[in-house]
């Protein structure tokens, strides 16, 4: 059995490297992205093999799923050449071009892909480029060899923190050690990380309005599928959130499933009503970070330290923070997929 496992590990490792190489070297960007998504799914498999089911879930949902959706959406917008100069003011593609945007003809997509077929030379003359590439390959191989050697010389006993985590797990309020680390022992990292996510949204919104892709009507199948799937996705998100306290799962996995529901909904052409895209949307976006900060401040006022949960409340507080975080993560990721600030109502 162990031999079989070793063979499997070796094959998986090789497949990961091969897929990464193919994804990066593919002359067709679309193919590259699809291979990258496949790479993400194999990464999820690797996480399972490494006894890290929490990461496997996060990778499959965020690393492969949402990142893939973001990449594909960006590629689709990259192909449209009809909207030069967005940013200052919302620019809609001229009406006449709409058909083109809706149904990119075969010729269109082909030309868009063709443009990227020849990688731009690094330097003007080909010989210089070859020398540069050769030098690069040699130095990077040396880097890889050095790093590999450094990794292999590590002692085979990990001096990790498993024991201290296990010893304090009782007091953390949850029994899934990864959730305990994320929300309690190293909760401060998670607080800042929610800040990073929100900041990415600030940044994307500040870049201006991306021209809306006027999709063709998605058709009855997608419509029906989303109607069927979205309730399930929301249910699964709730389940992941709840189960995260004692088994693999948690706010990030739940949030990304919620985001998947949002992306699906957006794909069917649904847009947030302008009545809700001002204040209500903003409140939801900052809810995760906000609840985290409020809990932190209240705990300090009650005489504790930053994010020092009293053991009797720890479980409830973690669930509260995670619930708000799930909502915010889901909506933020879906908003990142949309790419620009939804238009706000007439009161602006």
């Amino acid at each position: 059995m162990t031999l079989l496992q070793s063979v499997f590990d070796a094959l998986l490792g090789f497949a990961l490297l091969w897929l990464a190489w193919q994804a990066l070297a593919s002359p067709d960007l679309f193919k590259g992205i699809v291979l990258f998504i496949a790479f993400g799914l194999l990464m999820a498999l690797a996480w399972v093999r490494l006894d890290a089911p929490d990461i496997a879930l996060a990778e499959a949902a965020i690393g492969a799923g949402l990142t893939g959706a973001l990449l594909l959406a960006a590629l689709a917008r990259l192909d449209k050449s009809s909207w030069r100069g967005f940013g200052r003011t919302p620019v809609r593609p001229p009406e006449g071009n709409n058909r083109d945007v809706i149904h990119p003809s075969k010729r269109d997509t082909k030309s868009a892909h063709e443009k990227t077929r020849k990688p731009k030379p690094i330097t003007e003359n080909g010989k210089g480029q070859a020398a540069f590439c050769g030098l690069l390959v040699v130095s990077l191989s040396a880097l890889a060899a050095g790093l590999g050697y450094a990794v292999l010389t590590l002692p085979s006993q990990a001096p990790g923190l498993s024991d201290s985590v296990a010893a304090s797990l009782e007091a953390s309020g949850v029994s899934n050690p990864v959730t305990a680390v994320l929300l309690n022992f190293r909760g401060y990292d998670t607080l800042l990380e929610l800040g990073v996510l929100l900041l990415a949204l600030f940044g994307v919104w500040s870049f201006g309005v991306v021209p809306e892709r006027r999709e063709s009507s998605p058709g009855p199948v997608l419509d029906r599928l989303s109607r069927l799937l979205i309730p399930w996705l929301i249910l699964v998100a709730g389940y992941l959130l709840w189960v995260g306290a004692h088994a693999p799962g948690g706010a990030f996995q739940a949030g990304s499933v919620l985001a998947a529901a949002g992306v699906l909904w957006l794909l069917t052409g649904w847009r947030l009503d302008t009545r809700f895209s001002g204040w209500p949307l903003r409140i939801i976006l900052v809810a995760g970070l906000g609840v985290f900060v409020v809990v932190a401040v209240v705990l300090i006022l009650m005489g504790g330290r930053l994010l020092e949960y009293p053991p009797s409340f720890a479980a409830a507080l973690i669930l509260l923070i995670e619930a708000a975080a799930t909502l915010s993560i889901g909506i933020t990721l879906a908003a990142l997929f949309l790419g620009s600030r939804p238009e706000t109502g007439p009161q602006r």
Binding site: L154, L198, L289
Partner: protein, 483 residues
């Protein structure tokens, strides 16, 4: 007073301020300025605490390292927080004028404040963190915020610059994170103090050191990894250029310094000499390029490359006085460079361009601005009684005392190069240009802030004993006798 959790407040206040600016975009200027004032007050509170009780360690969540994350404030972190607070307040006031009425519309202004306050959060969190993984998160927060701010300027240059900056920043972070991974798996902790106790040389530690140093040097833009800096710092909006040059590049230098002093004390002299040599090369290359530039902001950006080089001269000198000198250089450069970029911003605002040859009697039309530029120039050149002078004096003293006088030569030649470009700019400010330019009144707040920052850079020379005493709290540079 003593039991107030200042380290936490200093981090959470700008974060909350940023969220508030996002929720009430129409009040963002007011909220932003209030937050800035609040942060300055809280840093002062933290300062009082540190001066009174010595270095502070704060266990987040009550767990304590290695399980939890620790915050740590000693003289070094306090100094960094203080310079961030002072420069940050200046930039906030300046921006309230700049973004409100400049060609950036109301819309740009409302995007500026939340991102800027998050950037401030990242800086404060970074200077207080004692945990190398937490430092990675703060680095990412810092990097993404900086990129978003650069892109606010709009236009092909700024957007391309922001993109390049983002790629460089992410690359640097990943090098750093791989180093973190190797250190954690060698010693089972990511706390700097615990690592300092446990660390011993091994191939993995050498690899981690190499990765982290390269990643951080990339972010700090030490020659020859400075390639991304000039175009980014030149194309960003003026207050953003100021805070990138004054604070953001210093943040990664701060991490490098901490790691060098505590986690990698066995790093050998050859590496230190290499860093010193790169620093010297940066001083010459940056100074020489600055002299060649025709655009004012580009010139100032290249001067940042040169000034960053001085910070690395302390590595081969490796003594308390040397480190203090580098820190003082960092401090005075922050104030002076903020003033310079603000002055450049005023000139750009006034005339709509920053071509040095067409400055067109700016000296009569914007006297405060040109005074600010000249005063900041004095500090950059290192003339007495400015902060730059004190810094160079300390470095020179160490160089001579440790019989490595050639580093002193670098200091003096670098000063001459700076003098050359400062006089070039000031000279053009007096001449009349051939074509008259449209001109627009510059808000008084923008002129006065620039001047105040420049005056501060000069005054730093007079406060030196007090600030140097502050730096000794918790003895971040070790206790051995200098020299």
């Amino acid at each position: 007073m003593s039991d107030i959790h200042w380290p936490v407040i200093v981090i959470l206040l700008p974060l909350a301020g940023g969220v508030a600016c996002f929720l009430w975009p129409r009040r963002s200027v007011l909220l932003g300025l209030l937050t800035a004032l609040g942060v300055v007050a809280c840093v002062a509170g933290l300062g009082g605490q540190v001066v009174e009780q010595g270095a502070q360690r704060y266990a987040v969540g009550g767990w304590g390292a290695p399980l939890g994350i620790d915050l740590y404030a000693d003289g070094l972190s306090l100094l960094m927080l203080t310079v961030t607070a002072v420069v940050g307040l200046g930039i906030s006031v300046y921006s309230s004028g700049y973004f409100e009425r400049a060609r950036y519309g109301q819309d740009r202004a409302r995007h500026f404040w939340p991102v800027w306050l998050f950037l401030w959060t990242a800086l404060n969190a970074l200077f207080l963190s004692a945990d190398i993984f937490n430092l990675y998160v703060t680095l990412e927060l810092l990097g993404l915020a900086a990129v978003a701010l650069v892109a606010l300027a709009g236009g092909a240059d700024a957007v391309s610059g922001a993109m390049r900056y983002l790629l460089v920043s992410l690359l640097g972070s990943l090098f750093y994170l791989l180093g973190v991974a190797l250190l954690y798996h060698s010693f089972g902790s990511v706390d700097i103090a615990i690592l300092a106790q446990r660390v011993e040389p091994s191939p993995a530690v050498w690899a981690a050191m190499g990765l982290m140093i390269v990643g951080l040097l990339l972010k700090t833009a030490l020659f020859p990894l400075h390639f991304w800096l000039p175009s980014v710092h030149a194309s960003a909006p003026a207050p953003v250029s100021a805070l990138l040059s004054a604070l953001v590049v210093k943040a990664s230098f701060y991490i490098l310094l901490r790691l060098w002093l505590e986690v990698f004390p066995f790093a050998n002299a050859a590496l230190a000499q290499l860093l010193g040599l790169l620093g010297a090369a940066a001083v010459f290359w940056g100074g020489f390029q600055a002299l060649r530039q025709t655009r004012l902001k580009m010139l100032i950006a290249y001067s940042t490359v040169a000034q960053l080089g001085y910070l690395f001269l302390a590595f081969p000198l490796a003594s308390i006085t040397g480190w203090t000198g580098a820190l003082y250089m960092l401090l005075s450069h922050a104030a002076a460079k903020t003033a310079m970029f603000m002055a450049a911003g005023n000139i750009l605002y006034f005339g709509g361009h920053d071509r040095i040859a067409d400055l067109d009697r700016v000296v009569q039309r914007l006297p405060l601005t040109i005074t600010a530029f000249a005063l900041a120039g004095i500090s950059i050149m290192g003339l007495p009684p400015s902060g730059g002078f004190i810094a160079k004096w300390l470095l020179l003293e160490t160089a001579i005392r440790s019989a490595q006088w050639w580093w002193g030569g670098v200091l003096i030649l670098g000063g001459l190069l700076s003098a050359a470009w400062v006089f070039k700019v000031v000279g053009y400010a007096f001449t009349r240009s051939e074509v008259p330019h449209e001109a627009r009144a510059v808000p008084a707040t923008m002129e006065w802030t620039a001047l105040l920052m420049a005056v501060l850079a000069i005054l730093l020379g007079l406060f030196a004993p007090w600030l140097l005493a502050l730096l000794e709290i918790g003895s971040p540079f070790g206790r051995e006798n200098a020299g």
